[in-house]
Amino acid sequence: MLWAYLHFPHLLLDHIRRSRSGRDEPHEENSEPALVVVDQSAQRVLQACPQAQAQGVQAGMRLKTALNLVPELAIAHADPGREQQILAEQARWLYRHVASIVLYPPDGLLVEVGSLEKLYGGLAAVWQTLEQALSERHLTAWMATGTTPLAARLCARAGQGQCTADKGHMERHLHNLSLAAAGFDDRTLIRLQRLGLTRLGEVMTLAPAELARRLTPETLARVQKIQGSRPDPQQPWQPPHHFRQQADFVQDIERAEGLLFPLQRILTELEEDLCWRQQDTDSLLLVLTHRHHEPTRLRIRTSGPEHRAEAFLNLMRLRFEQHPLPAPVASLVLSVRRFLGREAAAGNDLLGETRDLNEAWHTLISRLQARLGNDALQQLSPQPDHRPERAWSASEVQRKPRPAISDLASLPRRPLWLLSGPQALPEAPVAWYSGPERISGGWWDGQRVHRDYYIAGLGSGQLAWVFRDVRGGWFVHGWFG
């Protein structure tokens, strides 16, 4: 088996940097402040971006020193939980290229590449694919191959990885690794150094029994795992059944337009992901976190299955126009949990016109709903009830044919306009045309109705649907429009 390991030396830094407004031109890059990632106690610099490094900041430096060098330094805090999520995001796109992935939090991914050589036509092609995917995402990764997972990991972390399938070459390389890079614990390392050993190869040539006796059995186990003479089972990662992407900002974003750039990147990822799954979605959840405010949860719905980033982005733009941000945004998370199977074009129309109209319908309704709110659009349907105010209902707009009423002529004559509530009859009608039609019901649910309905003409020429209730009052309930 051949393994490849991807070590992300500054994953969090890359993650934050690509959420910044997408100005890649070098002359504008100066406007972005230099960025460092510090440990949780905010003492030491863990990762520094190229601008910071150009000004003398280095990883491992004290934060105070760094701040003295670059006063306008932007600071992000490392957070193991967040780093693991970011790593899982990387595994997600990597899964499109390779089958078996193992997560090594916080900053590594192990990939089994031996089985891919045939598919891609050689290790070099696999390598190239991975490098291209990494550069598309502006990620820095040190990669290395190895015959065992641990060997690949050590070579990659040492930053001297090479793309090779030649065992002898890999072995030589492994033997040349310094002991410090081999990841032994401090005590073992000191003891090995006191024995006069500096290279990993020298440790590997020692007799196993001696190694276990003089040092610890764990040290032997580690060496054997590197060599491959002891099993080192791996837990393959399974892609989750939902989509989740996060963007973190160093400086809070105050205006909604600033969110559109990172959103576009995430939505493009979503589109790729949906295309790859051959699925659609109709509901996105966008959570904006603020520093001193409750997180804003925006649910973006489309009226039909959709996968295009542009369509989602347009809806979000509309949403932001209608609802300005309540507070500056520190980070955003876009998640999708609902996936719909992609339907084949249902229309048996040769020119596909029906399909187009269907899509246009969904686009229009989604647009309207995004700006006006879901409740603003309604579809009407009759209900089986004798009481006029309950004989209809309004529901959310759906593109689903409902059962048609078979016997239209048997329905009673009703006005086209129904008032929202009965209104007192303003004047005595000048003509009476039909009636009375007694409607009595509702004794079963307490909304008792007992009325005599007439059709009457008013002096203004309006044709009204009037009724007299039990107490003898006269009301208009509808207009024959």
Partner: protein, 229 residues
């Protein structure tokens, strides 16, 4: 005719009213032959605004657009109702053969939203008919809507107050609606693109309440004389 006049006419330098060619703008028949005749045999203009000016609902104004609504809703076109003054009553619409799946009612909060919605509906190919009850509209707004209507090819009917009959409007067709004596609808064509205004016709709308067509003030006797206001 004098020689001079003959020359002028042959030169076609003088525009003659009676020779006016029939306009061939796209249109949808109204479903009322009498009204179609007054509208040059065409009907509701497509890709343009129409205005109906009336005082109060209940004089048969929906009956006027009902044949079109029936036809469009069954050909898969969507009919939008924007800010109707009352609830369109679903049982009555269903009884009149309107496909309710194609009816979408929209309520907007302010005029800005209304205009935006109207524009979007008008530009969409799925829309067949838009019925809108806008509040106050500036001439500029109507012009904007007119442009949006031209971008699509659907019928848009704005229902507005009859007080606006004197004001000019960029709409292609303006009808003044009045209630007649026998539950009929008197229509006065205030403006029609490509022709003269001033045609009048009366449509019997008694059907909307199953009234007999030959109206003779049939009065139903009842118990109301004592208690009616």
């Amino acid at each position: 005719m004098s020689k001079l006049l003959n020359t002028l006419i042959e030169d076609a330098r003088v525009w003659q009213g009676h020779r006016q060619t029939r306009t061939t703008q796209p249109a949808e028949p109204t479903g009322y032959q009498a009204l179609d005749n007054q509208l040059g045999g065409l009907g509701w203009p497509r890709g343009a605004l129409s205005e109906c000016l009336l005082d109060a609902p209940g004089i048969g104004e929906l009956q006027l657009v009902l044949p079109l609504m029936q036809r469009l809703s069954h050909t898969g076109k969507t009919v939008f109702w924007l800010n109707p003054p009352h609830t369109p009553y679903a049982p009555a619409l269903a009884r009149d053969g309107v496909n309710l799946d194609q009816i979408v009612m929209i309520r907007t909060e302010d005029n800005g939203d209304l205009l935006w919605t109207l524009e979007n509906c008008l530009r969409s190919p799925v829309t067949g008919l838009v019925l809108a009850w806008p509040g106050k509209l500036a001439a500029r707004d109507i012009r904007r809507l007119q442009l949006a209507a031209e971008a699509g090819s659907n019928v848009c009917v704005l229902f507005r107050s009859r007080k606006l009959a004197d004001q000019s409007s960029p709409a292609a067709l303006r009808l003044e609606l009045e209630a007649g004596e026998h539950q009929d609808l008197r229509i006065n064509v205030l403006k029609r693109r490509g022709s003269w205004p001033g045609q009048r016709c009366t449509l019997a709308m008694g059907r909307r309440a199953d009234l007999p067509v030959t109206e003779s003030h049939r009065v139903v006797q009842g118990p109301w004389s004592a208690s009616a206001p």
